[in-house]
Symmetry: C4
């Protein structure tokens, strides 16, 4: 029996706890972000930056080598690896708590090969956030899904491609039916984003956010926050996902009091301050 | 019968409305900026940044590949494409609501070829902002103008080349005569910029701005604001153009209370805040 | 007889004295940072930036040429040289007051060769800060240590590799025994970092810092502060080392009042202001 | 008869006048900065940035192509040209009001060739600021000086090389004797910088500045401010030079109230605000 519920700030405050002092960077998880072809390098820069600024312990970006310099010029905190250097990617993947694939990946043969390689190596206990063109590739090529903790972050058109449910028929009940077949967490991004969690009959709705977020890269930014939260806040995956989504939008709402549009890079910069407020 | 009128803040407030909440990034338009050769890459970076910060939904920059990294290091929100990869440019162009051509394009054979290609593909319903060296190329090579919603942004010397009217003879009446032949919107940039709108006998004058704006790149910045406004504010093209011009100068005036010179990149950064004030 | 003592703010205030006015950039020392392969370029960018922002007079970064552009995009104040251009490195090394080797160096054949070259050229009066993968290389390849003022900055696992003391046995007494054999200053980074100074029986503990620092690049940042302090504050090496460690953590504590995580690049930016407070 | 006098804030306030409103970017001058080899690219980035932020109308940087991306990532307002593309440099030079040569130029054969080329093309009415390695090259190769408005900006060691006066003998009288032979403006940078103006018997001393400025790149920054001031403030060259030097140091003094070291890039950022205060 389907139940609708709204994410609350209490959930966020519950998830973002003060950090345990006896810890080191490994305590807060390892994240790999995979994407960014020669046209869409900005997308993976934003995803990676969001993972770092949300507090992931160690972040490696697997991308086209053409993006290494722009990434490091903005974010020296991250490491880089050529996403087509499969030996290097394979060597790094087992350490990861959370992997993001999709931002700026594109849909060409290189993208497909990278996606297939990641699917062949991801392990059941790892979080795998699948975004943007990676979703389109799965739908187009009818790829079998790997055994891992999958999180899909489609917007409504991507969800149509993946689920086969046409946009006007994307009701909570229909969405949940396909989500449960996928056995994954699914975040359907829209004016009011809906979240379908694996192993839960509740459909969650994001009550915050506004049209000030309707700008390119906003979804890329969300993938990094999701990764950062899942890497650090491991007590309750579902709640961490909800908290990431709410935080992303709530930061925009805070900025939007004084801005007509809120850019992904501004939301990223504001993460450490917002999270301190939630933890405080 | 020619009428002179000054742009007012009321026009800006009328154009920049609070965003409709049921929306997505597509709602706020797609922009392509075309320019930036190996010497003048900064110009297209500024134009593209202004489009993003003024709130265009999705922005793609077509430029020399040498500029990809510097653009992404400043602005991961934008996508990039090689401006000489005509297949890729042709595939993207039909989606665009607004195209800017000219900032940092140069006047060599490559520039001419790119310009001609864009002229051959632009569609009647698309806004095409023609700036800087693109204007010079049209004048020099007597290029036929394409069927599109053309906006020219010459400074007075470029206007002389395009219109054939020598600088001392650039009276409103003379300017309007040629502008009406062109069937385009024309913005003649000067100490007091004048705007000649298609389908209107009124000549608009920009009452704001100061010599603090007299620095390289200021015109490139304007093209991006124009593109962002035309992509989002589609109710009244003429008013959107006037609002973009006024906003560009008014932000400088605000900054100039505390700065001797106001740089284009500073005006870009201030856009979201200024627009919130106008919409509020 | 081993004595434990905590670093105090008084030590920092004692080290960071108002600058002597009759001086020039040479007065404040020359630093070379060596590291940053094609994957870990961010690490050497952060080390180099911390040296500049902590006030070193002149800073040169020896790194893979792929990192030159990202470094200069962030930090034009530093000079660059290819770390495999041994002639150039050898020509520069004799001028240096302090050399950092290790951040982002990696552990491959190139890294080993660079490390060996530096060991062959460093001079007894020079400070040589050995960090990260350089420590691992020494342990793995059992490299003989050069005659210089050595400072090791291992985290606990790296210290296990270098000292042979398993992590659970890393007691102050055991650590000090090996440190004295090394004849070096050793900084064992942990939740509460411990410092073993050459020529001193006191074991120092860092009382500040928090889990907000548990993020990638934090140790790279520390190497640069150490280098900057050793290059400038030459009266008492031991106290300068202690002051650098305390400052690094205390700045994070200040930021952590409002941030959930504190990034290395934010600590770097805050250095000049913090140091003014200590000197004031 | 030699007279010593201190630069005053009144001179700065006299030089930096409110801008004439009937103007355009050409009104405020064209600057070319030449330097930045593959090791010292940061130097020319800082010089160029200082020219832009001090209000020069149009600024072109002639440098090694490896520096184009880092320059544009920081400063899209400037144009770039390969400093070894002599045809391009020659085509641009005649438009310039002020040329800077030296920051990060180096002293190798390429540097010498570039310097000689610029000397062969500079025109008598142009300001030519000669800095750093360009001064060393002149001394080493005993280059004949071109007919132009020369401004030398040596530190004391460079002045020794150029003038032949050993550092301990660098008295005002000795310095002035050689400066008058050179027929140039000479700025001898030291703890208290001294300025020897062409056509004046007064030796000026800079009363502001502190050891917080003793960091790499500070001189590069000064060349850009000098260029910006000479390009804009053309009424009295000598006073413009004095005002540039004072402004550079005074901005540092303002920052040094809260900073232990003041970086060149911070001084650059503060220029527009400081200049507004002086003009106000």
């Amino acid at each position: 029996m389907l139940k609708m519920q709204q994410i609350t700030e209490e959930i966020v405050r519950h998830v973002i706890q003060p950090r345990q002092q006896e810890s080191h960077k490994g305590t807060f998880g390892r994240v790999m972000t995979i994407g960014g072809n020669t046209h869409f390098g900005g997308a993976i820069i934003m995803s990676t930056s969001a993972a770092v600024y949300s507090g992931a312990g160690l972040v490696t970006c697997a991308t086209a080598p053409q993006n290494f310099v722009s990434l490091h010029a903005r974010l020296p905190e991250a490491m880089v690896v050529d996403y087509q250097d499969y030996a290097a990617v394979a060597a790094l993947m087992p350490q990861m708590d959370c992997i993001v694939i999709g931002p700026g990946l594109g849909t060409d043969a290189t993208a497909l090969a990278v996606l297939k390689f990641v699917f062949s190596r991801v392990q059941p206990q790892q979080n795998l956030i699948i975004d943007g063109s990676a979703i389109t590739l799965i739908a187009t090529h009818q790829l079998a899904l790997p055994h891992a903790k999958l999180i899909f972050t489609p917007h409504q058109m991507e969800w149509q491609r993946l689920s086969g449910i046409k946009l006007p028929q994307q009701t909570p009940a229909q969405n949940q039916r396909v989500q449960q077949q996928l056995g994954a967490d699914v975040i359907v991004k829209a004016h009011r984003t809906e979240i379908y969690l694996a192993n839960s009959s509740t459909v969650w709705q994001n009550p915050v956010g506004s049209a000030a977020m309707a700008t390119g890269g906003m979804g890329d930014c969300l993938t990094g926050i999701l990764a950062g939260f899942l890497a650090q806040f491991t007590q309750n995956r579902g709640q961490s996902i909800l908290a990431a989504i709410y935080s992303h939008s709530k930061i925009s709402d805070n900025l939007a009091k004084q801005q007509y549009v809120t850019l992904p890079t501004q939301i990223i910069t504001a993460l450490p301050h917002f999270m301190a407020q939630m933890a405080g």
